[in-house]
């Protein structure tokens, strides 16, 4: 599947994208993920101030016919959530990389070393469906 994978981001095997800026990580789902899900109709993300843990689910994204968990690649405190996208989750279909979900203040930026580079993520998408 042809898919859009920006070079400035890092990725997870659960099809999330991340952008690190200082000690803050912005998290969203990839173009591959939105395309696989189809029409996204519901998004549940944690409230600002809640703690999320690396490897744990932090929310849910639903299409008309499916429910998918969101997995956090980092441990830290949620400092912002995208209320626009929460109100209109179809924005993720329109622009997966513009429609960020949450921003997390991370405790240990070393956690991000395990993330996939754009090339690794492309390879991952090619081999898994």
């Amino acid at each position: 599947m042809a898919t859009n994978i920006p070079a400035n981001l890092q990725y997870t095997k659960e099809h999330e994208w991340t952008l690190l800026s200082g000690d803050t990580v912005t998290i969203g789902i990839t173009d591959f993920a939105q395309s696989s899900l189809g029409d996204i109709v519901f998004l549940e993300v944690p409230e600002v101030g809640s703690e999320i843990k690396s490897g744990s689910t932090f929310g849910v994204v639903e299409s008309i016919k499916s429910v998918s968990d969101l997995y956090s690649p980092v441990t830290g405190e949620v400092i912002a959530k995208n209320t626009d996208v929460e109100a209109s989750p179809d924005k993720i279909n329109a622009d997966a990389y513009g429609a960020w979900l949450i921003k997390v203040k991370v405790k240990n930026t070393d956690e991000l070393k395990n993330l996939l580079s754009p090339a690794q993520y492309q390879e991952f998408c090619n081999t898994s469906h």
Partner: protein, 358 residues
């Protein structure tokens, strides 16, 4: 793992870019473009589904109607020729083997259409009851393809490819020709909209499919079909119906005709033995899914969702749910447990969406 079956139209689906998934032992198109666009096409204009995986049984002979009438709970004998009748197929103990449609094609000629996942079970069950009836009983599922043209523009569109198409009543059937080949044309479907189901040989139905797609009818997959049937509250075997429940448990008491002389399950079903009731729930927030617990106002579990989705028409969460009758709340207050959080659900009496069929 057994090899997945493919309908004759499989290559057409691949050409149209469909996403293919395993369903009831078949490789079936789940969606082509978007579930929402496909469902709305059926509500607003027309869509076409490949349902060639479904089963077709034929009863031919003097007792064809009598045999069908004995097998199912609904009244076949008193329906006119050319009518289609929806019915559960029950065991002696009242549990549901399958739900199906009986088509009275002509005197002494009946077609029964069954769910893909139940073809073998149904055929064996019916075959075991065949003795003593003067008619043949044959499974022709492999010889027939089936597509369903659904939506308010169905008649107008089908008329462009079948010139002498009569304006049949809803739930009617007749045998005609398409491209000089015999087809069975029924004004039935699984969406609540007007529409036609076209049964015929594989190549004949393939030609009809291609002509409809060329006429800009939107190809629709199983995902949109499921949303459409749920919006109009049609049950689906394996969800609202299964081997453990009887028609009354699934809100299908209206299909049990106790006035009939005899049919399988008559004795037990006469007492209307319901342990459950099927309710329609609508949620302003949250999307109910199959298996989610349904709660009363004290947050006690009283049942569970059998089918759930978001309605593409109303944008609300919609569900059919099986409630234990002895736990059904008198105040009719329901909540759905979605990921350990109770979401208020409104009990509704009418289908979530009113289909526009005749």
């Amino acid at each position: 793992m057994t090899q997945l079956l493919r309908t004759h139209l499989y290559n057409e689906h691949v050409k149209l870019g469909a996403k293919i998934v395993p369903f009831a032992g078949w490789d079936m198109p789940v969606q082509y473009s978007s579930v929402k666009d496909e469902a709305l096409a059926v509500r607003n204009s027309a869509g076409v589904f490949d349902v060639g995986h479904m089963g077709e049984f034929f009863l031919d002979g003097k007792d064809a109607e009598k045999f069908a009438d004995y097998l199912v709970t609904n009244d076949i004998l008193n329906a006119s020729n050319g009518k289609a009748i929806y019915s559960p197929l029950c065991r002696e103990n009242g549990t549901v083997v399958d739900d199906l449609i009986v088509y009275k094609l002509a005197p002494g000629r009946v077609m029964i259409v069954v769910n893909a996942s139940n073809i073998e079970k149904d055929f064996n069950w019916m075959k075991s009851k065949h003795k003593g009836f003067d008619c043949t009983f044959v499974n022709k599922s492999n010889d027939y393809s089936l597509i369903a043209l659904q939506g308010p523009k169905s008649f107008e569109i089908l008329k462009t490819i079948i010139k002498d198409l009569p304006d049949l009543d809803y739930y009617s059937v007749f045998e005609t020709a398409f491209d000089g080949q015999p087809v069975i044309l029924a004004r039935t479907g699984y969406t609540g909209e007007d529409g036609f189901e076209i049964f015929g040989s594989h190549t004949t139905v393939e030609n009809a499919w291609k002509k409809l797609v060329a006429a800009k009818v939107v190809p629709c997959g199983l995902a949109s079909r499921d949303v459409l049937r749920l919006e109009v509250c049609f049950p689906l075997y394996g969800h609202e119906l299964n081997d453990e429940v009887n028609p009354y448990d699934a809100g299908l008491g209206w299909t049990v005709k106790g006035s009939k002389t005899n049919f399988i399950g008559k004795e037990i079903l006469a007492s209307k033995p319901a342990k459950y009731k099927l309710v329609k729930l609508e949620l302003e927030k949250g999307i109910p899914r199959e298996g989610y617990p349904v709660l009363n106002s004290a947050l006690e579990v009283v049942g569970s969702v059998t089918s759930g989705s978001m309605s593409v028409v109303t944008g609300k969460g919609i569900a059919l749910a099986r409630i234990q009758i002895d736990k059904a709340p008198k105040d009719e207050v329901f909540l759905v447990d979605i990921r350990q959080k109770p979401y208020p659900a409104q009990l509704v009496k009418k289908p979530f969406v009113t289909g526009g069929h005749k």
